[in-house]
């Protein structure tokens, strides 16, 4: 039986719940991760922060207007809104009811979770709940590809 630990990325790239939104955005940009795991001071996985959620909080209306004046107005408004929240803590914008998986979980279970929750990343924890890495849709597809060859 294939285990999560055989296919996961063992990366502890994360933010702490007390970190600022500004630090989080910079980190998302540098790591090219639109979603980051949130941990506490002991590296326990406590939730997830999505770039989409930050955007939702700063954009008054979604982009997509044909009127370019309106787009410009919205962009300026979004920048202003962001400067108001950038020093706020991650814990105010994170999702806490995030599904995580264990290193020793069966890979088949992951397919089910990813399909049902439409998650592009699922974070992996150990038995004590400490962050150990993540599994992406790409990792899942790679596992399925290996299976199809057998």
């Amino acid at each position: 039986m294939a285990r999560v630990k055989d296919y996961m990325m063992r990366s502890l790239n994360s933010v702490c719940h007390t970190d600022s939104i500004e630090d989080t955005i910079i980190y998302m940009h540098k790591t090219e991760m639109p979603i980051l795991p949130v941990v506490d001071e002991e590296n326990t996985f406590v939730g997830t922060i999505y770039s989409k959620n930050i955007l939702k909080n700063i954009i008054p209306e979604q982009y997509g207007f044909i009127n370019s004046q309106r787009i410009l107005y919205d962009r300026n408004q979004a920048s202003e809104n962001l400067s108001e929240i950038k020093s706020k803590k991650v814990e105010e914008y994170m999702l806490t009811k995030t599904k995580s998986i264990a290193e020793n979980d069966d890979m088949d279970k992951i397919a089910e979770i990813m399909l049902n929750n439409k998650e592009s990343y699922i974070f992996v924890t150990n038995q004590e709940g400490h962050l150990r890495g993540y599994m992406s849709r790409g990792d899942l597809l790679y596992y399925l590809l290996n299976n199809s060859d057998e």
Binding site: S11, N13, V39, E42, N43, H130
Partner: protein, 316 residues
């Protein structure tokens, strides 16, 4: 868990060519003649520890730019848990040209990597929350530009507060300052100069004097490189000379890292014994040096060399 710290890692690119001449272009068609690997003192030790069978080994440090993403993927291939603070600057590349005729080895080492204060703050926070489950912490290597020389001192301070033993492999001012917070094991190394604690060391007596000074300044145990030997300074004041016998060195790349990794391996398997741990570590280094390897592959290769390591107590 074992944590290793590499603040100044690099992407190492080795080019194997026939002859290395100025104004001569080289074309490499065979992939065997171009090797790209992740480099950095603590990282290579982490890969060795992993190869010796430890399931949980993490490497903490800075990596930068788009090359940082590539570097992290390379490290992941060794099943090391990566814990990197991404910086704005691109990380370093070290280039080595290895020629056959005549045999030559030319290195172009990049020391341009720079890290912002924000990234240093982030690293310290990340380090504190990530070492709580670590049994040992190995801090090794140089530090990037713009990072204060007291960084190792600050990291060891965090370890001390959490009751974690530290093995420090450092040089220069970073080493001098780190001694103030009393790291348990200190293995100084020479970088560009032949100085430790700002003293030029040439003769055996100089090495002994400096080793004692390191202990006086805060190190509990000192493992001092002395040509192909090591001088071991025990906590009780005893000094030992460790030497390999009947050896034929083919390669020194990776030998020091194998030493550090195996030192921990011995302690994990057998409990702490400073002399025996060093004998085992030296046997590991010898197996790398004699076999043109970079990474340790198994404990068997270490054990067959233990008989070739001599340790003598010095009367000083």
């Amino acid at each position: 868990m074992i944590t290793t710290v590499t603040l100044n890692p690099s992407i190492d690119r080795e080019y194997f060519i026939n002859e290395h001449k100025p104004m001569k272009d080289h074309y490499i068609y065979d992939s065997e003649n171009l090797q790209i690997s992740p480099g950095g003192k603590g990282l290579i030790a982490a890969i060795n520890i992993k190869n010796l069978g430890y399931s949980d080994v993490q490497n903490i440090g800075f990596i930068g730019g788009k090359q940082g993403l590539f570097f992290e993927k390379m490290v992941q291939d060794h099943n090391i848990t990566t814990n990197y603070v991404y910086t704005s600057d691109e990380m370093r590349n070290n280039i080595k040209i290895i020629a056959k005729n005549p045999p030559s080895n030319t290195m172009y080492n990049d020391y341009t990597y720079s890290v912002s204060k924000r990234s240093v703050r982030e690293l310290k926070k990340r380090f504190k929350r990530s070492i709580r489950k670590s049994d040992y912490i190995l801090i090794a290597g140089s530090i990037p530009a713009e990072v204060d020389f007291n960084i190792y001192q600050e990291l060891i301070n965090i370890c001390n507060k959490l009751n974690k033993d530290v093995y420090l492999k450092a040089s220069g001012e970073a080493l001098n300052l780190a001694l103030k917070v009393k790291p348990k094991f200190v293995a100084p190394y020479f970088k560009h100069t032949h100085k430790i604690l700002d003293f030029k060391v040439e003769k055996k007596d100089d090495y002994i004097t400096v080793g004692k000074k390191l202990q006086k300044k805060g190190a509990e145990y000192v493992i001092m490189p002395f040509h192909t030997n090591r001088l071991l300074f025990d906590k009780d004041g005893s000094i030992y000379m460790l030497s390999p016998k009947d050896y034929c060195i083919k390669n020194l790349l990776g030998a020091g890292d194998a030493y550090d990794a195996s030192f921990f391996d011995y302690i994990f398997q057998n409990g702490f014994d400073f002399i025996k741990a060093n004998r085992y570590a030296a046997a590991a280094a010898l197996s790398i040096a004699e076999n043109e390897l970079v990474f340790l592959e198994s404990r068997q290769q270490i054990e067959k060399n233990i008989g070739n390591i001599i340790i003598e107590k010095l009367e000083v």
